[in-house]
């Protein structure tokens, strides 16, 4: 699913308005009836805040609390301080999940973004044709279906008798065929390909939408100057797409780090531990192994990782916001 990012000012007008809200509104009397803003505002925001506090903030604090204990979910708990965190970083199985998540970023992020850029650049000129309009709908299908369905579909395609192997044998590559999701070496890339399929359409369309905002006169000028398509791409297209690229990377990186559905349904983390991701490991540790403390520590590490990845991307993408 499309995960939101932190972009608050999409255009100069909004940015200017944002500036005005920064000024403290001390013009009005404390108990001013004119705005009634103070308390009415809180009344309006209260339900949302309540729902958020009860079902998000409280569990968030509790996760941090649980991570400092050893608890099986039923009986009493024992204080262990930072032991769980040490375990997360030293146990090869647990730390391996974090490494796997980063490896998945290559597939979930790099492939859709790079491929999306290339494809969007190529089809930019026919972006308003009827074929492109049909394509908009079709390319969004992977974003609309639940990730579980994508996982089930692709598990079947990647099976040893599945379509992928059938296609490979058509082009005489029989030696390469195998059960992609069951092989130690190819399981993680195979899961990565599923994610890439889900996210490619979204990235392509986002980048295409960004490209259509670029003034065509720039391209005309470059054309007249004799620039080829490659020059055009690097000098005109890429720089203007900073924000969109930032969004694509953010959405895909978060999808890779927080992946659960696809792995749960296709490999359950196997074979061995090669496709185990933090999200799934948290689930197993908490509900199957009854190690709530370890699960919570891993959860905290995961959330920190997501922030650590998203914030720099956001900062870089908006560096030159005019």
């Amino acid at each position: 699913m499309a995960r939101p990012t932190l972009d608050t000012a999409a255009d100069p007008a909004t940015a200017r308005l944002a500036l005005t809200t920064v000024r403290p509104p001390r013009r009005f009397a404390r108990r001013g009836r004119r705005r009634g803003g103070r308390w009415t505002g809180w009344l309006f925001a209260a339900p949302a805040l309540a729902a958020y506090a009860i079902f998000v903030l409280r569990p968030l604090f509790l996760t941090i609390e649980y991570s400092l204990y050893r608890w099986d979910g039923i009986g009493p708990s024992t204080w262990v301080g930072l032991d769980n965190y040490i375990k997360v970083f030293t146990d090869p199985d647990l730390f391996g999940t974090i490494l796997n998540a980063f490896k998945l970023i290559v597939f979930f992020s790099a492939i859709p973004v790079l491929l999306g850029l290339a494809i969007a650049a190529t089809i930019r000129r026919i972006a308003t044709s009827r074929l492109a309009l049909v394509a908009r709908t079709v390319l969004f299908l992977p974003q609309v279906i639940p990730l579980v369905a994508a996982g089930i579909t692709w598990s079947w395609l990647l099976a040893s008798t599945g379509l992928i192997n059938q296609l490979l044998s058509y082009v005489r590559l029989n030696g390469v065929t195998r059960a992609w999701l069951g092989d130690f070496a190819t399981a993680l890339p195979a899961v990565g390909m599923i994610g890439a399929w889900v996210l490619l359409g979204l990235c392509t369309l986002l980048l295409l939408a960004g490209m259509s905002k670029i003034d065509p006169a720039l391209y005309e000028a470059a054309r007249i100057d004799g620039a080829g398509p490659v020059r055009e791409f690097f000098s005109i297209t890429m720089p203007s797409l900073r924000q969109e690229i930032g969004v694509c990377i953010t959405v895909t990186v978060v999808a890779a780090l927080a992946s659960f559905d696809i792995v749960y349904v296709s490999t359950q983390g196997g074979p061995g531990n090669t496709t185990m991701v933090p999200g799934l490991e948290i689930y197993y540790q908490a509900f199957s192994e009854r190690q709530v403390g370890v699960a919570s520590a891993l959860a905290v590490v995961l959330m920190a990782l997501v922030l650590a990845c998203v914030l720099p991307i956001q900062w870089l993408a908006r560096e030159e916001q005019r």
Binding site: T8, A15, F61, Y69, I74, G75, S160, L311, W315
Partner: protein
């Protein structure tokens, strides 16, 4: 120009710091989560009389394993005989049931649940103590070996003695199924009597272009544990293996006999005797491949005898794993099809009645043999339905008698602890098949996982 990003960043760090401080304060201030009083294993309640089904309508909640028709056939028959009892059955795959067991038993308790392994569940007080029912229904008068694996000592270990915490729907027997047609093709006239003869058979099959063994090893369930344990029993006595499974103090799986067994399995893998897709194959795929007739042998249990008799009539055979030395004692995995009653079950009495009915009712016993293929529980002189001559069911039942004679019944090494299968055996066996692990290191790794799981 406006830089809301800077604002956000500072805000984040501030908020993050605030959260951290609050959490630390909160953690230091109050006690940890969870109750203070540990849940003791439930004590047994003596029953005045054996419970019975009344006439009031009742809906029983059951959680069974998918792909096995016998429990459903039994519940259907039960409803036929007692129409006021309806069943709400949930099915899931073996690995998922194992994962869900602690959570489901504690928070959404079914009346009856298929349980692969009970030690941790008993330790956490999640299963009902069945001693009272055993006394009321007379289960404690059955041959002790039937209920041995279902008994757990106080605190969850060791198994094999103590109060009864689960029952079995029947008693299974495992070994090697073979395709009679393909066997005749390579000249197998009688089941192999020694391990060497079995090796010869596998080599002959490979030369003839037949896949020697189809065995599942994929997903969260490493089916190579079957041939491995069979080999362990060929090389050494079943006693130490059972001790390890039952969590007796000081037991170890890393023994010289077991090492020889693992090396033997490794030789089979390297010789290419297994179907090359083993690491991606799940149980159902293995069954379907064997039934389709593409391979000679399959290590499995008699719960499939009924299915094989129906889908490959007259073409499926069965023999027990041969010993290493000629004339040696035979051993095989043989365990009850474990089901337990949740400690918080609503209809525990009815569930116990059902379990007794399965073992004593004539029609139920017929279903156990015809659909389930295995021997029902109960006293040795109880009604046994007639079995067709030459069917694989007859072969497995006969094998059961031999194992009883040789005292060679073992539980499954996958059942030693709640997570030894998913977290230890399966990944290690998958690595062994992929050539990424060697036999010595495999046994050491499993033993060390076992010790950390049992010690906790």
């Amino acid at each position: 120009m406006s830089r809301p990003s800077t604002l956000s960043r500072r805000g984040f760090l501030g908020l993050g710091g605030g959260v951290g401080v609050a959490a630390a304060l909160g953690a230091a201030g109050c006690g940890g989560p969870g109750s203070d009083k540990p849940d003791a294993a439930t004590a047994s309640t003596a029953l005045a009389a054996a419970p019975s089904i009344g006439t009031a309508p009742v809906t029983m909640k059951a959680y069974f394993e998918t792909g096995f028709p016998m429990p459903k056939a039994l519940t259907d028959e039960f409803t036929r005989q007692y129409p006021n009892v309806k069943w709400d059955i949930r099915e899931d795959q073996f690995a998922v049931i194992t994962q869900n067991a602690p959570r489901v038993l504690a928070d959404d308790p079914p009346d009856l649940m298929r349980l692969p392994q009970v030690s941790e569940l008993v330790k956490n007080g999640l299963l009902k103590n069945l001693d009272g029912y055993a006394q009321a229904f007379g289960w404690d008068k059955w041959p002790a070996s039937q209920l041995e694996q279902l008994r757990v000592g106080p605190g969850g270990r060791p198994r094999g003695e103590g109060s009864l915490y689960a029952m079995g729907l029947n008693f299974s027997m495992t070994g090697i199924f073979y395709n009679k047609k393909l066997a005749a093709q390579i000249g197998m006239t009688a089941p192999p009597a020694t391990l060497d003869e079995l090796d010869d058979l596998l080599a002959k099959a490979k030369r003839a272009g037949i896949t020697p063994i189809v065995q599942f090893n994929g997903g969260a369930t490493g089916g190579f544990a079957f041939p491995l344990q069979n080999l362990m029993a060929s090389y050494g006595p079943p006693g130490p293996i059972n001790d390890w499974i039952f969590q007796k103090p000081g037991a170890s799986i890393d023994t010289p006999a077991n090492l020889k067994a693992t090396e033997h399995l490794d030789r089979w893998i390297k010789a290419g005797y297994f179907d090359k897709d083993a690491n991606a194959m799940d149980y159902a795929k293995m069954m379907s491949k064997f039934i389709a007739g593409g391979c000679l042998l399959m290590f499995n249990g008699d719960w499939e005898s009924g299915t094989l008799d129906k889908q490959m009539p007259g073409n499926a055979g069965f023999f027990l794993m041969p010993p290493a030395e000629r004339g040696g004692k035979r051993a095989a995995m043989s365990a009850p099809l474990t089901v337990g009653i949740s400690a918080k079950a609503k209809n525990a009495d009815y569930a116990a009645f059902f379990l007794n009915w399965v073992a004593s009712n004539q029609r139920a016993r017929e279903i156990a043999v015809d659909v389930g293929g295995s021997h029902p529980m109960g006293p040795p002189d109880a009604y046994m339905p007639p079995v067709k001559e030459g069917s694989v069911t007859a072969a497995t039942l006969a094998a059961g008698a031999q194992i009883a004679q040789d005292n060679g019944a073992m539980d499954f090494i996958a059942n030693a602890t709640g997570s030894i299968y998913a977290k230890s055996w399966t990944p290690q066996l998958q690595k062994l098949f992929a050539g990424q692990q060697d036999p010595k290191a495999l046994l050491k790794a499993v033993q060390s996982d076992y010790e950390s799981q049992v010690g906790s």
